[in-house]
């Protein structure tokens, strides 16, 4: 038994205090699956992936550089139109297969685009079998440690026939987890701005066409 390296160390310690009897391999495995659920439901772990859009090319592999795997396409924008006016380069951009962007209208000439993807952890894990993350994303573990603690506790306590089996506590902890996860999702939507919104204007009221722009 040994404490894993940052950013998982504090989370590991918080759990060990409350779940006597759990072995490290199980704790790491449950942490991985819980964090995958957390990322999937919140879109909190994002990365901007540059693409060079080409004429007559409808499909692009999104190569994430900062670990994890693309899980949801949040936006494809033209970096030439500077923030805060990031808008979809066109409608119907999709990522039916995670990590593969498809577009309906390729540009007329080579054009740099930027795809924003939400990620989930993927194999391989780090050496301690925890989700492998780039240091620039460690803040997620720090900021949402409470949420992750509640969620992992709930999943461990739901297991049958263990010293830490506790259905009542599992239910309570799961409720706390879902509540904290919802807050994280809101944080992601609002980019951590109190009462704010990260987009400029609701897309349904957009005055600029999303079809075929390059």
């Amino acid at each position: 038994m040994s404490t894993p390296a940052s950013p998982w160390d504090r989370l590991y310690n918080d759990l060990k205090l409350q779940i006597p009897g759990v072995i490290d391999a199980v704790q790491a495995s449950v942490t991985f699956s819980l964090f995958k659920d957390f990322c999937d439901k919140t879109n909190i772990w994002t990365e901007e992936v540059p693409i060079l859009a080409k004429p007559n090319t409808y499909s692009y592999v999104l190569l994430v550089n900062e670990k994890g795997a693309a899980n949801r396409l949040l936006l494809v924008y033209d970096p030439a139109s500077a923030p805060p006016n990031k808008q979809w380069v066109q409608g119907n951009a999709q990522m039916q297969r995670p990590g593969v962007l498809t577009v309906s209208f390729p540009p007329a000439q080579d054009t740099p685009w930027m795809a924003v993807v939400a990620k989930t952890p993927s194999d391989p894990t780090n050496a301690e079998k925890y989700p492998d993350m780039h240091a620039s994303s460690y803040w997620i573990i720090d900021k949402y440690r409470e949420a992750l603690t509640f969620g992992i506790l709930a999943r461990l306590q739901m297991m049958p026939g263990k010293p830490y089996t506790n259905a009542a506590a599992a239910k309570t902890n799961n409720q706390y987890y879902i509540s904290e996860r919802s807050k994280a999702r809101t944080d992601a939507v609002k980019a951590n701005v109190y009462g704010g919104q990260r987009w400029v204007y609701p897309q349904s009221f957009a005055t600029i066409s999303r079809n075929g722009a390059t």
Binding site: M1, G21, I23, D24, A25, V26, M159, G161, K162, P163
Partner: protein, 123 residues
């Protein structure tokens, strides 16, 4: 003489012998043979897997089988569950012993094993 490392088969056997009060080798033989204790250890691993398969996750959910001739092999169970394993082996070894009439003590050890691995407490 250093304390035996209970994480190895040999260390576990040594601790089992201590609890069985079978450490006297002056006659040249122990009361309980090493082979019989290792057989009980192998049975303990099967029972432990049935109750707590998660403890075998690091080993790819394979139940190990130990050889009396290889005492330095690691048992491969998380350290916090080694005492429970020792209790099981002691209990099973004593349960097989019809000369000592230690059935109550044997059952006590087996019960402690089960309570430790499932409930986490010894009552």
């Amino acid at each position: 003489m250093p304390a035996p490392n209970i994480l190895t088969v040999g260390g576990l056997i040594s601790q089992v012998r201590t609890l069985l009060q079978d450490t006297d080798l002056s006659t040249g033989l122990y009361r309980y043979s090493t082979d019989s204790i290792v057989t009980n250890l192998n049975q303990a691993m099967a029972d432990l897997f049935r109750l707590r398969p998660d403890l075998f996750m690091d080993a790819g959910f394979a139940i190990p089988s130990f050889d009396p001739a290889l005492p330095d092999v690691a048992v491969g169970i998380d350290q916090q569950y080694m005492p429970a394993l020792i209790y099981y082996v002691v209990g099973l070894t004593q349960a097989r012993d019809d000369e000592q009439n230690q059935d109550a003590r044997a059952l006590g050890f087996l019960k402690i094993f089960q309570q430790t691995v499932i409930n986490g407490v010894i009552v």
